[in-house]
Structure formats: structure tokens, C-alpha cells
Point group: C2
Chain length 259, copies 2
């Protein structure tokens, strides 16, 4: 299979533009909650509709690819061989439902397990962060510079609320060494903050579709993305992930307690 990462990047941008337009549309007002796994894990009809649309477009354009996605319209993927698309139709569902702001849609593409291209749309700001190691990084059509390799004391950190409040892994010690703590409530939005230097670290328990696009983009930006026990990321499992500047991730790994 001949892989053209520029072509895939263009495809992702076009696709997420459609998703953004649709989610910003009138329909957003009429969202109805389908089921509740629990109070903080709302699944809306919009999630399902969006995933069906996105997965359909991917299958049409890349029939040999496999898809890992949140709402169940993907494939049963057992290994990372070939072209694998990870789809998170609406990331930050609670923000989508409660705020109608600060939510994202994300697609990450891997080839034989290696990060290739990623794209994240900040839906309400209509900004698409996209690219890869080979292509470079873009916001919409504009190429952006890699963020500075700041240290922990120089920046703001975002840690998932349950982890921070319960001080899991002694993460409050990491927070104390930083300039401040923020909780934005959407992995995609926070990956955008990392790529533009607005925050220097994100730590959370992430499913493959929460992580895939952000990992491609952060690594392309020279940042580190590791599991909390400093093991290689496993793209077929959920795990506690630390993403950020190289300096900050190394400081965080020295500070957290995993046992």
C-alpha cells in the first residue's frame, strides 16, 4: 500500500471541516442524550451520528484501513499493522452538552504502529490543528512553530479532575512545581494548548481515540508523550498518559509515584 501522508492530511482537514460545520449548526441546539453510562460519560446522538459519518468517509477513501473508534462503529482491531485510523467524534462531551464550547473532534492515523498524521478541530473556534512528523504542524492553512521546551515552573498544567482531586500518583506535587493548574475538560482542546505553548503538560487516563491524534501532533512538535510508568504507549489499550514538553515530562516522571 502506497501511503501519501499529505493526501491523508488533506482528507482529514476536509472531513473535520464538515464535522465542525455540522456540529456548529442548528442541530447543536437540539441535542438529546441517548443513554448515560454514568453522569460524567454522556453519549449524545451527535456522537453516534458523527462517528457513523466519519467512519463511512474513511472507509470510502481508504477501504483497506481499519478504524478504532469510541461509539462502536469501528473495527475489531487486534494489532497495529497497516493503516489504522483512530476516531473520536466528539471529545469533551460534557463541555459539548453543558457549555457548547471547548469541545473537539479528532482523527489520528498510524501506519504499522508508527504515528503518521493527526488532526484535531476546536469546533467552536473553527481551528484545525493538523500535520505530522514529516509534514510539519499547521493550524488551518498556517504553518506553526514548535513550542518552546519550557520547564514545569514556567508553565500551566492540565490534569484530569478526578486524578488531581484525589491526588492520584501524588500528581499534586507535579502541580505545585508548575505555574498553575487548569482543567479545560477536553483532551483535544488541551492538546491544542500544548501545541501553542498555552500549557506545558497534560496528564489523564486516556483511551486510544482520546490520545491518537494528540500523540501524532505532540511528537511532531518535539514534545514527549509517555505512559505514567515510562513504558511505550500502547495504542490498543487505555492508559495514564503524560504529554508535554520534554523537560516537563521528564520532571513529571521523576515526581509522580506509581506504586
Amino acid at each position: 500500500m502506497k501511503i501519501d501522508s499529505k493526501e491523508i492530511d488533506d482528507f482529514l482537514v476536509t472531513l473535520l471541516n464538515s464535522v465542525g460545520e455540522s456540529l456548529r449548526g442548528d442541530s447543536i441546539k437540539k441535542k438529546s442524550i441517548d443513554t448515560k453510562k454514568n453522569r460524567n460519560d454522556l453519549v449524545t446522538n451527535f456522537d453516534k451520528k458523527t462517528e457513523k459519518f466519519v467512519n463511512g468517509e474513511i472507509k470510502r477513501a481508504y477501504p483497506d484501513a481499519t478504524i478504532v473508534s469510541e461509539e462502536g462503529y469501528g473495527d475489531m482491531v487486534k494489532d497495529m499493522s497497516g493503516l489504522v485510523f483512530f476516531v473520536d467524534p466528539i471529545d469533551g462531551t460534557m463541555n459539548f452538552v453543558k457549555r457548547e464550547d471547548d469541545f473537539a473532534s479528532m482523527i489520528g492515523v498510524y501506519i504499522d504502529g508508527t504515528p503518521l498524521v493527526g488532526a484535531i478541530i476546536n469546533v467552536m473556534d473553527n481551528e484545525i490543528y493538523h500535520g505530522g512528523k514529516e509534514l510539519g504542524l499547521f493550524i488551518n492553512d498556517k504553518r506553526i512553530d514548535k513550542p518552546k521546551n519550557l520547564s514545569l515552573v514556567e508553565g500551566l498544567v492540565d490534569v484530569s479532575a478526578p486524578m488531581a482531586l484525589a491526588n492520584r500518583f501524588d500528581v499534586q506535587n507535579v502541580i505545585k512545581k508548575s505555574s498553575g493548574f487548569r482543567v479545560y475538560g477536553s483532551a483535544g482542546i488541551i492538546f491544542g494548548h500544548l501545541l501553542t505553548g498555552k500549557e506545558v503538560m497534560y496528564m489523564s487516563y486516556l483511551a486510544p481515540w482520546d490520545l491518537a491524534a494528540g500523540r501524532v501532533l505532540c511528537e511532531a512538535a518535539g514534545m514527549s508523550v509517555v505512559s505514567i510508568d515510562d513504558a511505550p504507549i500502547n495504542m490498543l489499550e487505555s492508559q495514564v498518559v503524560i504529554a508535554g514538553t520534554q523537560k516537563v515530562v521528564s520532571e513529571a516522571l521523576e515526581t509522580v509515584k506509581t506504586r
Copy 2:
């Protein structure tokens, strides 16, 4: 003294438009930190310059008014008689310095201790929330509706990071009863979220200039603003404040522990 609250509101909007334009300008790139009270309380030259400008304009337009402001260019105000302006030139200083986003400038006006007019500019979004009980509520030129009186389980809450992480006042029990926890790091930005229903509660230790404009606007929106021991707000002291929908503030007061 004849008080025209519409005239004061127009004055605040014009003034904050100038402040916003100036803070969004090129100068933002050249900010230099003047002194550090501590790492999380940066004071930039921009803070001081902005306050000097704002206080000067207020003194020119309302020579009989007194001014309570953060950086020391205000008056020594010992009581709330007459017209009192509260000025926070840059609210969310850390966001201003680290993110160049999600910071605000705020002015609250009281007459003989009664909330009269308030104005908050979300600088980077160029949105001014303004008005009062008599005038109604506006974002820029557009009148907005009062937010719904949601309950805790229906909305997101924002609590200052140190208070939430240390579980002061058992605030984590309030957070657990909500839809989710967010930390945006600027009182002015969060008051904007309350006014538009994006969040249902804000709890933090606030100085008079952090609170003044937000209190005017929240009360005009039919929301509650109380001190944590349910005592009346004292506008000449700092205190732990709970602001939010009437339902949420009442639930929060029942849940927090103050002794």
C-alpha cells in the same frame, strides 16, 4: 449627586474597549514582569499601566467618586458611601502571561454600598459583559437573557485550584454533586461563564476588585453571590465567595463545612 446608570454603563464599555484594544495590541508580546509577590501572583507592567489609565479616566469623568483598585493607584476607601469604582486592570494575570488568552479587565460600580453597574471584558474574545439590575444584561450591544436556575447536578463548577486540591471547606463534596469540575483561572472569565450558563458555580477567595463587577452582573442575572458563611458580602474585605444559580448556591452552602 445625580446618578445616571446608563451613562456610567456607556462610560465603562468605552473604557474597557480601549483597554481591550491596548492589551490585544503588539505590546502584549513585550510584557515584562515587574516584581513577583510570589510565583502565582505575577504583577506585570501592563497591570500597572492599565490601572493608571483606567483610574485616570474615572477620575476625569467622575471626580467625586472613590476608587478601590488592585495595584495601588486607587484611594484609601474606608466606607462605601457615595459612588465607588472597583478596578481590576488585568484579571487572570497568570493566563495573561502564560496563555495570552482567558484573561479579563473588570470595573464594578456601587452607590452607597448597593451594586449599580458592572463591566467585564474577555480581552481576547473582545466581548464585554455589562449592565446592572436596572439596565439589564448585555454582551457588547446585545441584550442577553438571564441564565436558567439550574441545580448542581445539571452543571459544571469552577473552584479555585488551591481550594479544590486541598479540599478546603470539603468543597470536593460540592464538586462530586456537580456534572464536572473546571479550572479556568480568571474570575472575570468565569463570571462570563456563569452569566451565559456555561458554568453554574464559582467558589474562590476573592479580593474586592476580583468580585465587584461579577457580583453586580450575577445579581442582575438573578443569581446568588454570598460569602461562604452565608454572611452578606463585605466589599471592603477579601472573603471566600460562592457565586452561582440560586439553586446551586443553596446546595453548596448546605454541603461545605466552614468549621
